[in-house]
Amino acid sequence: MTVSATTAVVANEALRPHAEDAFADELKALAAADDRPRPARWKLSPWAVSTYLLGGTLADGTVITPKYVGPRRLVEVAVTTLATDRALLLLGVPGTAKTWVSEHLAAAVSGDSTLLVQGTAGTPEEAVRYGWNYAQLLAHGPSRAALVPSPVMRAMSEGMTARVEELTRIPADVQDALITILSEKTLPVPELGQEVQAVRGFNLIATANDRDRGVNELSSALRRRFNTVVLPLPATPDDEVDIVSRRVDQIGSSLDLPAAPDGLVEIRRVVTVFRELRNGVTTDGRTKLKSPSGTLSTAEAISVVTNGLALAAHFGDGILRPGDVAAGILGAVVRDPAADRVVWQEYLETVVRERDGWKDFYRACREVSA
């Protein structure tokens, strides 16, 4: 098709290349080394897809970089689900790499991650089923040629993996259009008296945010069509510190902030505070804590640190200090002025105050919360 031709030309200079382009070499090496049975129209076997996501070294020495750092178990469940005819629902709080995993899964399974429906409050039914080319429709009447297929419809007819982002943002009536597709594996086109049947290899990956619930909760009929995998927040503090500091560096350089020489201490502190409050228990596992109402995701930790860096660079001496992050942390933690404030005060008084080397931080926090 002409459309895909133009994208291919642009791919080399794309600001953000698709997964299947960026990791084309790895996919090729995996396909060559992969001798296990592949489901119909899959580019790789389920085992190779898992390896592509989790990383590893192939027999010929090719190193596959890990795309997702997390439990192997989850990836295996996700891949196995795609190999059956059940759709996959990736749940998680914002910033847990749902979209990232979905893109790489589609790239590894079908070699194409572009069959994407972005869920918004305004997503119309045409985006899930099909639309019409009205010029054609008026000129020649209803015909297959006048039909504009949605990414889902294309995936069905070609046996590919379709992706739906932010499923719970889509209005309920549009969501329900997916039920027929997922249970009957067919998409009727009553205007033409035809239908498009899904061919083997078709499947669907949806992502949804499980933190701000209730926007457009999935109906149980639709929910039943999905196997659900919840992507967790980073498992260990070191993982999270690593992710935060790497992202902060990237953002910092794009904002032309001067590099902070001793920022790691504060980053670790921010991550510790976030993790402890999120998990409701201190890192040493000795003290339980109340959790505030906010998400306190890794992404928020990143923004607190970036913010602190900007403060330090423009108003301070360029070194990230407790005072620079205290206000940011307070803002992230205290979302509900009454309940969260108590949570935060308790945390300050029972945990932060007694901790060695946290005195400055304690004072800074007391100052901003007063």
Binding site: E76, V77, T228, T350
Partner: protein, 787 residues
């Protein structure tokens, strides 16, 4: 023929303890080989108890319990579930009239070898043989490897030779033992020597046709050719204690722990299912799970079950396993039935994977060691169990009495209510306790029931307290438990209880719960002092609790109704007393610059909170008044400041009910508040001074509020108050000898001029005349009159 070969030499059936596949294989092998005697790894003293296994009342899981006669604390358990190969072998032997014997080292020796106190079970190899084999096969999880290679194979391949898996396993173990020797567990060689001797004895008695069921690890050692003399030499000089054995009921939950056979298992419920399911174990398991989740009101359709089974199968294929194991089924349940959530999954794990099965033991089983320990304690403490009721006075400063008190408290924890606490006569000192003792026959049954918790009164009470701490839901329950632990001096249980307490306190959002818990803790600290127990951890927890109260109290004091406010006021009083106690006993690691961590810091913080309460308009009146009063009593609020607050609270801008509540909180309500005023001149003069200062126009507004408070006092109190006030302050009184001694005091006699001043008001109130207002600066106390 294999049968002939097997009967020539003892048939060695190496198993994994509690392995359902092993159990099946053992049954098949016994059916095929038809041995004339079955020898089982276990303490030989248990032979006499074996017939009980066939008793109708006997329901696994049960455990064979061995304990030293003079020291019931030294005990070992050999738990058996329905799916344990040992149990299967025992039942097979009993059903077929074949003698069964235990051949392991006698418990008399193994208990003597075990250092008392260490919880080292008799047979846990330092090298995990299965782990090594699994690693060799490329598995990272030994359980999964065993399931794939042995358990699943044994249940699936029915057509094969029932003895073949044991031969293969024996070979693998032999190879392992060549490398690892005794696996870092020297006592194994003694045990194996004993087993070989028993094997020879059985051979002499029964000839061929001997089957041995033992841990796979021991198979090579039993097959080894050694001389009788060498084996006897190994056993020489092994110490011995007098032991007794009995069957005790066991639970799946305790099977999941590491004890007895050394092989604690994670998933007894799952194994029980594998053993019990006639076919299609995964499908049956998923149906079971669906049933459980439906009972918990989750919507699980048959379609869910189908999809879960399919996903489990798919996962097994991706992971290269022959059949879905527990991991695969759990992953599938999470993704399909639980919508990715771990919360319902925890339920599945608790109810099904571990399971709640409780074993039963026939009544004819010998007495539990707990009873023995209790008898011993009763002897040493000279406390005879008597059916008639008698009272016992204990002086805790004496060692024997303290020990008696501990025993009674521990028994109460175990629900053996031999003694009841009675209120002591006369002295209420903390070193004195009064008990009412009465031994009822059914207490024996209670002791037997308590036997599941441990073998001695101390260990049983400790275990029970720990389990109660874990299952308690309300904070106050845990505090009460902590108090009981201190009384019973369960020092080992205390850390667990403290952790539970700290956890509950951290998660409890209701300040009044925290406030309810604190006084008991502070009390406990004092008991601790009397009984010289270590209460450092308790002090830390109590201080933490106080901190949380300080943080949470101000927001909690708003928007309360009258009852709620009154309750909270009482709590605040309790907390105030408790914080006073804590400051004396707090920890000393407040080397902080802010001095915030020190006990004094706590008191300061509490005072600051009270100040905040007095100043905040949204706080209900009773509490504001009470806070002001506490501060005044502590000297943290000056008289002037208190007067200002009082004026503020009782001025016309304040809604009348609020103002009335404030004054009630300040001087104290019906209960005792009046007496306080009678005796506390300072307080009375403060109120007096304020009241004198109220302008005439405002007085009519204030009057109902005061009346509301003061009319609740007893008539006698009211009269005394009136008398006091009538006499007026001493400096102006007729007998005012020490004129300037106490400006706030009240002298005897009547101050005529001031008494006159009140008359116009009274007339006004009584409606006698509507003359001009009296002198405004001398509107005086109509309290006694109006009340």
């Amino acid at each position: 023929m294999t049968g002939a070969a097997a009967s020539a030499r003892p048939l060695l059936l190496g198993v994994r303890h509690h392995g359902p596949g092993s159990a099946r294989a053992v049954r098949a092998a016994l059916e095929a080989a038809r041995p004339r005697v079955v020898l089982i790894e276990g303490p030989p003293e248990g032979d006499a108890l074996l017939p009980l296994a066939a008793d109708e009342q006997m329901k696994p899981p049960v455990a064979l319990l061995a304990h030293a006669v003079d020291d019931p604390g030294r005990a070992a358990f050999w738990p058996m579930a329905e799916f344990s190969p040992e149990w299967v072998a025992i039942r097979w032997a009993l059903a077929h009239g074949v003698p069964a014997r235990f051949i392991d080292l006698p418990a008399a020796h193994s208990l003597a070898l075990t250092e008392p106190g260490t919880d080292e079970p008799p047979g846990s190899p330092a090298v995990d043989p299965i782990g090594v084999l699994a690693e060799t096969a490329g598995y990272d999880d030994p359980e999964a490897w065993w399931e794939d290679v042995v358990e699943h194979r044994a249940s699936g391949g029915g057509a094969g030779d029932p003895l073949a898996p044991f031969a293969v396993l024996a070979e693998a173990m032999t190879a392992l033992r060549e490398v690892y020797g005794d696996g870092g567990h020297p006592r194994d060689s003694v045990r194996e020597a004993y087993m070989r001797i028993q094997l020879r004895a059985a051979h002499k008695e029964f000839g061929d046709g001997i089957a041995v069921v033992c841990g796979a690890w021991h198979v090579p050692a039993l097959a080894a050719k050694t001389t009788l003399a060498a084996d006897k030499a190994l056993l020489k000089g092994v110490p011995k204690v007098r032991t007794e054995l009995t069957w005790v009921p066991w639970t799946h939950r305790r099977l999941a722990r590491h004890s007895g056979y050394g092989a604690g298992i994670e998933s007894p419920g799952w194994y029980g299912h594998l053993f019990g399911a006639p076919d299609r174990p995964v499908e049956r398991w998923m149906t079971k799970v669906a049933g459980l989740l439906r009972d918990e009101d989750r919507f699980i359709s048959s379609a869910h079950v189908i999809e879960a089974v399919r996903l489990a199968g798919g996962l097994a294929a991706v992971r290269g396993r022959p059949l879905p194991g527990l991991t695969e089924t759990t992953d599938a349940i999470r993704a399909v039935m639980c919508e990715g959530s771990d919360v319902p999954l925890a339920l599945v794990r608790d109810r099904l994977v571990v399971g709640e099965t409780l074993g039963e033991v026939p009544d004819s089983a010998p007495a539990v060691p707990l009873q023995r320990d209790l008898n011993r304690l009763q002897r040493t403490l000279r406390l005879k169990p008597e059916a008639s009721e008698r009272e016992l006075e204990l002086d805790l400063r004496k060692d024997t009495d303290a020990a008696r008190s501990r025993l009674l408290h521990r028994l109460r924890l175990l629900d053996v209510s031999w003694g009841d606490r009675a209120t002591g006569r006369g002295s209420t000192g903390t070193f004195r306790e009064t008990w009412r003792l009465r031994w009822e026959p059914e207490l024996h049954v209670r002791v037997a029931e308590a036997g599941v918790w441990g073998t001695t009164v101390l260990s049983a009470a400790t275990a029970k307290a720990e389990s109660e701490a874990a299952s308690a839901t309300a904070l106050a329950e845990v505090t009460a438990l902590a108090e009981r632990c201190l009384l019973a001096e369960l020092t080992d249980a205390l850390p667990v209880v403290m952790t539970a307490l700290a956890d509950r306190a951290a998660l409890d959002a209701d300040v009044s719960h925290l406030a309810e818990a604190l006084p008991a803790l502070a009390r406990s600290l004092r008991y601790g002092d009397v009984r010289a127990t270590d209460t450092a951890s308790l002090g830390a927890v109590a201080a933490g609790l106080a901190e949380r109260i300080c943080v949470g109290l101000p927001p909690a004091c708003t928007g309360l109704d009258a009852d709620g406010a009154e309750e909270l006021r009482r709590r605040i009083d309790g907390v105030h007393t408790a914080i006073g106690l804590l400051s004396g006993a707090g920890d000393g690691d407040g080397a902080d610059g802010d001095a915030a961590g020190s006990p004094d810091g706590l008191r300061e913080r509490w005072a600051a909170v009270l100040h905040k309460l007095t100043a905040r308009d949204t706080v209900v009146g009773v509490i504001r008044g009470r806070a002001a009063r506490i501060l005044l009593d502590d000297g943290r609020l000056t008289q002037d400041e208190a007067a200002r607050l009082m004026g503020l609270a009782l001025s016309s801008g304040t809604p009348p009910t609020e103002a009335a509540a404030w004054i009630e909180g300040f001087v104290g309500g019906a209960a005792g508040g009046g007496m306080l005023l009678v005796h506390d001149e300072r307080l009375l003069s403060l109120i007096d001074a304020w009241l004198t200062g109220v302008r005439a126009s405002a007085f009519t507004d204030v009057l109902p509020l005061l009346r509301r408070t003061f009319s609740a006092y007893e008539p006698g109190v009211r009269r005394t108050l009136g008398e006091l006030v009538r006499r007026g302050p001493s400096p102006e009184g007729p007998h005012g000898g020490g004129a300037e001694a106490s400006p706030s005091g009240f002298g005897p006699g009547i101050d005529e001029s001031r008494a006159d001043a009140v008359v116009p008001v009274l007339r006004l109130l009584l409606g006698l005349d509507t003359g001009p207002a009296p002198r405004t600066d001398h509107t005086d106390r109509p309290l006694g009159a109006t009340a």
